[in-house]
């Protein structure tokens, strides 16, 4: 009986984000019935996508047992560099679309090389690259970039394309992590790097790969962010790193690495969007929203800890 109860607790905590989405959504909807409309739901989904991509990026890295605080700057730098090149050389939109993705991957590879192959501390490395990319954004262009080709901003601007591409990325990523041997290695390295090494996993390469995928997702996010505002603002994606981190952890990606489902990470993103939409709808001041975001980051840690405690109980109870 007791075991069943603990298992129920574990299930609840693992899928907590989904329950909280329902809870907050209903709560807001009762107070503001406008939230019930299908248009509002679609808009909420759409506005969750830029952060959603960063949540996925952070999740991959957390699963591999690492950490990346530079993701919003990779996104900003990729968007800015691509935007600058496109306007400077009037590059065709068809050719331009892959640009931010390529820059994102390259930034991710830089982090991956320093952390995977040189075994440097992930927190300090990405803090360093955070600052470096932040500076590089201003070097590339100290002002916002406008007048981008229509097709280039289409993926992020068009609601249907945006949602469908995100859904596709989410499904592909989930399949990759579950059914492909390379994807599985990421879980092994994050779950127990020593064991992974002795099982013949190339830990360095796997870490590098996790950061490269992280960079790719940041690059896609750069394209979507650009489309979102039909421009590259100077402060593009600023401050998203910690929301992405909170979304991933709220969604059940373990801080210790190697555990969590990418679909639940998406739930974490959705939860943040519901809460944010509610705050906007109630016209809560921006500084208060910052406080709420901060509180969410900390509660994500608390929930992560609660999960650990319940799991220890299960491990001992059997």
């Amino acid at each position: 009986m007791k075991v069943t109860r603990i298992r129920a607790q574990m299930f609840f905590l693992d899928n907590l984000a989904w329950f909280l989405i329902i809870f907050f959504y209903l709560m807001f909807a009762i107070l503001k019935p406008a939230m019930l409309g299908i248009d509002f739901i679609i808009f909420m989904l759409y506005s969750s996508i830029p952060l959603g991509l960063l949540v996925l990026a952070e999740s991959i890295v957390l699963l591999s047992g690492n950490f990346d605080v530079s993701i919003d700057r990779i996104t900003g730098f990729s968007a800015m560099l691509a935007g600058k090149l496109i306007t400077m050389y009037s590059i065709n939109a068809e050719l331009a679309i892959p640009l931010p993705l390529i820059f994102g991957v390259l930034c991710g590879c830089l982090n991956g090389f320093l952390i995977g192959y040189l075994s440097l501390n992930p927190f300090i490395v990405t803090l360093g690259t955070y600052m470096a990319f932040n500076g590089a954004i201003l070097v590339v262009s100290p002002t916002s970039i406008w007048h981008l080709p229509e097709l280039y901003i289409f993926p992020g601007k068009d609601i249907v394309t945006s949602i469908l591409s995100f859904a596709l990325i989410l499904v592909l990523l989930a399949l990759f992590l579950k059914y492909f041997r390379i994807g599985r290695r990421i879980y092994m390295v994050g779950g127990n790097p020593q064991a992974a090494l002795m099982l013949g996993v190339d830990v360095k390469k796997t870490t590098f790969l996790a950061f490269a995928i992280d960079g790719l997702l940041c690059g896609i996010a750069a394209l979507i962010f650009t489309g979102f505002s039909a421009a590259v603002p100077v402060n593009i994606a600023t401050g998203y790193t910690f929301s992405a981190f909170a979304g991933a952890v709220l969604g059940g990606i373990s801080l210790k690495g190697g555990r969590g489902s990418i679909l639940n990470a998406f739930a974490g993103d959705l939860l943040l969007s519901v809460i944010n939409a509610g705050l906007v709808l109630f016209a809560i001041r921006e500084e208060v929203r910052w406080i709420v975001t901060g509180a969410l980051v900390v509660s994500a840690l608390l929930i992560d800890r609660a999960r650990e405690i319940v799991r220890e109980k299960v491990a001992k109870g059997i």
Binding site: K178, Y179, M188, G191, N192, Q194, M198, G200, G258
Partner: protein, 259 residues
Amino acid sequence: MGDVPLIEMRKINKWFGSVHALIDVDFKIYEGEIVGLVGDNGAGKSTLIKILSGVLKADEGEIYYKGQKVEINSVKDSRKLGIETAFQEQALIDYLSVGENIFATREPVKSLLKFFRIIDYKRIFEDTKQELKKLGLNIAPMKEAGFCSGGEKQGIIIARNMRFRSKLVILDEPTRALSIAGVITVHEYIKQLKKEGIACIYITHDLHHVYPIADRIVMLNRGRKVLDVDKSKVTLEQIEKMILRFAFGEEKETFTSRR
């Protein structure tokens, strides 16, 4: 046991900078043999084993597998020869299922749309169930390894060794920080391996742990092999005396009994 050793390491030398960590070390192990590798911290035990399991590369020396010269450049290479290193806490990945742990890095695949090769979970879980059954264990293949008891975990590792026909299992300090009951479980595990014809290198700094079950004791001291004896030819007291002599550095000669 045949005449040709399963694994033979000849004249292994390893330097770390100016430190000569292994000096002309010869080491061999026969099929199904249990060798206790003893020595103080820094004697070179771990270095020797890391070379055998492909984590480190020797600067000089050769390795033979059943009389054939082989190159071990990575953990993958050593695993291809059937060498598994099973550190106590380092053998299983707790968050993955029992089945995935047994098949880790050797997952069976099936093709999807001709282009992709995806992991065949159905086969993993069916094979796992069968393999565990052979050991008389009834563990759900989809259960997370972290939720298994100590005995079950041992069973999972044995199942893995049997499924992939390991020839040699290396245990690095398996009894460090274990209770007496824990030591007994480890010894049961090693006996089971021997029964399956799997050889075992048991590394420890505590002679008393390995003496009861070892066939042979090999001792390293400051990078040199100083002792290599069949257990049947020497008593625990005699070995202890020798160890004391080496520890105080008076005796330079080595005591070896060749088979």
